[in-house]
Structures are given as C-alpha cells and as structure tokens.
Amino acid sequence: MHRSVAVADLGLGNLRSVVRSLERADARVTVVNEPVDLARSDWVVVPGQGGFRHGAQVLREGWGDALRAHLSAEKPYLGLCLGLQLLFDESEEAPGAAGLGWIAGGVHRFDPDCAELKVPHMGWNQVRGCGRLFEEPEWYYFVHSYYVKPEDEEWVAATATYGPEFCAAVERGNLLATQFHPEKSHSGGHRLLKRFLSGN
C-alpha cells in the first residue's frame, strides 16, 4: 500500500536520504516547503539536523502553528533527530529558545565531565523498545550531543545506553519520533519505517 507522506522542509539540512528511505518503504513523498501546505497532508515527517536554536526560530516562522495543528488533529507524525527534540519545551543547547512544548520535558547534554563519553554520540547503538513499534532490539545510527527527557515516562518508547540509559524514541497514538536516523540505519531503519507507515 502506498502512503502519501509529506516531508516538512524546515530548511534544516538535506532531505534527500529521508525522502529516498520513505520511498523505499513504499511511500509516495511530497516535500512541503510552506507551513500552510501541511494541512493538506495526513502523514507528516519532520526531519532535522543542526542546532535547536535554529529549529526554534523556524517554528516561530509558521511551522510551529502548522505542526501543532497537525498534532492536535492526531494525524500521523514522524519526527527525526531535531524533529524529536523540537517537540519538547526547551533545550540546554539553546537556553531561552522555545520548542513546540508538545511533550513536557527538556533536552539535555550528555555529561561533558565524563571523559569516557565522546560527544557527539556518533555511530550505531542498540535500541531496546517498550513501544508497539519496537518489539525487537535493533541497531540504529545516532549522531547527536543532546538527548530528550520527557517528564511523563509513558512517552518513552525505546531506550539506548550511552553512559546512562537515555530516551531513543517517543511514541503515542499516531506520533513517533526518534533520536536516531532510520534513513541511515540500513535494514533496521527500513523495517521501522515500514512498521510506522503500516499503522492506521
């Protein structure tokens, strides 16, 4: 079954590999450049690389309202990396910059005092799930220096260990957002995208 999926182009990095991986998972992809056009889509993917401050800025330029409307309508949402972090209130990366505040909680830096812990957390880490999309442990590709911490632990759909255990994905209803990059995670990433797209 071919899902029609809108990839929101927030101007936060190259979308090609995200688009390609969704197409491989049998989705029909449209890249949406204007927040107003988001309303036409039922399925939305929000990728994002780079800094929280830049992301927060983009939210203020119309994307915030568009995404909030989409989430309020409980339509399917897939957030990747910064597309996960921006769902939260704020980040230690950019004090004062407001995220969407859809999920109560903050984004924290990996302990810079721990000499053993290289930051960014870069590479493949094993993810263990508790959500319905994460039944089996799977290896995914990560590259980030900050991790999310929802106040309500019910949000946590999967975890990975880097120093302490941290939240690798959140899930609720039609919302899935991952800290890792399924589009860079070869077959494991492909299977996750398929599972997400096969949801109702």
């Binding site: 990095g13 190259n14 090609r16 590999s17 390609r20 991986s21 491989r24 998972a25 690389q49 780079g50 800094g51 810079p112 000499a115 812990l117 290289k118 930051v119 960014p120 957390h121 870069m122 590479g123 493949w124 880490n125 094993q126 290896w139 590709y141 990560f142 590259v143 980030h144 220096s145 260990t161 880097y162 589009e183 860079k184 995670s185 070869h186 077959s187 990433g189 492909h190």
Partner: protein, 284 residues
Amino acid sequence: MLAKRLIPCLDIRDGRVVKGVQFEQIRDAGDPVECASRYSDGGADEICFLDITASHEGRGTFVDVVERTAERTAVPLTVGGGVRTLEDVRTLLNAGADKVSINTAAIVRPELIQEVSEQYGRQVLVVAVDARRRVPVEGELLAQQLRWDVCTHGGRRPSGLEAVQWCTRVAELGAGEILLTSMDRDGTGIGCDLELTRKVAQSVGIPVIASGGVGDLDHLVDALTRGAASAALAATIFHDHIHTLGEAKAYLQEKGVIVRPVTPGTPDGLPDPSVPPTVASATS
C-alpha cells in the same frame, strides 16, 4: 552500548575508484556508486570517499558521484579531499553527504572549523589529521621523543604543528570527529600506530577514527581496543577481498569488541538496481 565502527574508504579520481575493489570474483568494480552500495549492504557502518582528483573539472564529477551514492546507500557517507571553503562543504552536503572531511584547509585557516560547525552543526565535520612520527634528536629526553608532526600534501610536508596539540585544538574549535592517519603506517599493512591513536583518543572528547596500516583483522582489534579509537578506517583489506566486513565483525565480536552485527542484503531485501547481476555462471 555504542558499537565500534568499521569504515571502508574509497579513493576516487575523476569519478572512478582508483585501485579498484574486488568483490567475490569480480575485480573491476571501478564504479564508486556500485562499490559503496555493496559495502553498505555488506555491513559497513559508514562509507568514506576521498576525492584525489587534481583537476578543477573533476570536482563536478565527484559531486555527481556523491549524489548518486547517497541515493543508493542507506548508511552514513563521509566525503573529503580538496575541500577548501564553506561553499565546498555546502555543495557536498547538498549532494547528500552526511559528513565532510577537511584537512589542509583547516591547517591553513582554522576558523573554517568554527564556521562549518556553526553553520551546519559539528556532527557534519570531520577533521582529517595526517601525522608522522618525529625523528628524535640525539640527547633528547625520552618523554620528548614521542611526538608526531602534522603533515600536509600527502604526508610530504610538515606543517609545524604537533599532532596531539592540533587534535585538541580542532576539537575545541568545533570538529565533530577526527580522522587520524599515521603517515608512517599508511599503506604498510603492519598495523596502526597505536601510541598515536591512543594518545589522541585520550586527549580529545570527540570520536577518533584510526587510519593507516590496517593489514589484518588483529590490527582492527588493536586500533579499537588498545588504540581506544571509536572507529577504524581501512581500504586494502576490504577492497582486495582479503576479508569481508562480515568476517571482520565476527572476529571483532569474538575478541569482545562491540560491533553492529552484519545482516547482508539491501535495506528492503530487494536486489540493488545499481549492482549488475553476477555472471559467475557464464565463466564456469
């Protein structure tokens, strides 16, 4: 737990893989897109392309190769070679590279590290450091003897920088990762310079990729354990089909190194359209 990474590196000139890569019984494989695709599906944790094209016209060819490779592979792609400016970085990222590696340009103008990192985030920036052991001067204290010079121009020219200090500096300036090559060991196949690798890995808070000298699987184990590297980059042992990535990972796992296990095949389990079907039956 975070896995240690294995990164096959391909040297590319005028859009072709320079030495060629052997897959199963097929040699040629001079097409970088095909090679990268096979590595991606064979268990590579990342792919690295190094452009050694001398001519200006050849650069466009390389960007085109990066673009087509990004379409085909489903693991991160790092590209480097001749990257001088912020504009070069932008071009390669837009072509689909996940990370861009800079070397000489960072030595000439260290602010470039800061600029790239501020513009695109430090995760896209790999700073490549070519280091050569300094010949000890007679009468020098033992502690002063163990030094490495940062070189440019393929290791021929010393830059005047000391390698461990330079690595510390690039990390401070905003590099996301260091690709550390021992010029003494590069191409020798006798193993990585473990003292160099360990010293740098312990001095910086960002991941270090060990490179130069990997000739067998024990060298990979050494680089990732005694050398304390986060990843190992290798060319010959994979290109010449001395070992597959699957064998390398099985061996590392046996030695207690955490790796991502290999499940060969394309991401979606379908045949890769960029790889022509094997014609083994025609020759038998």
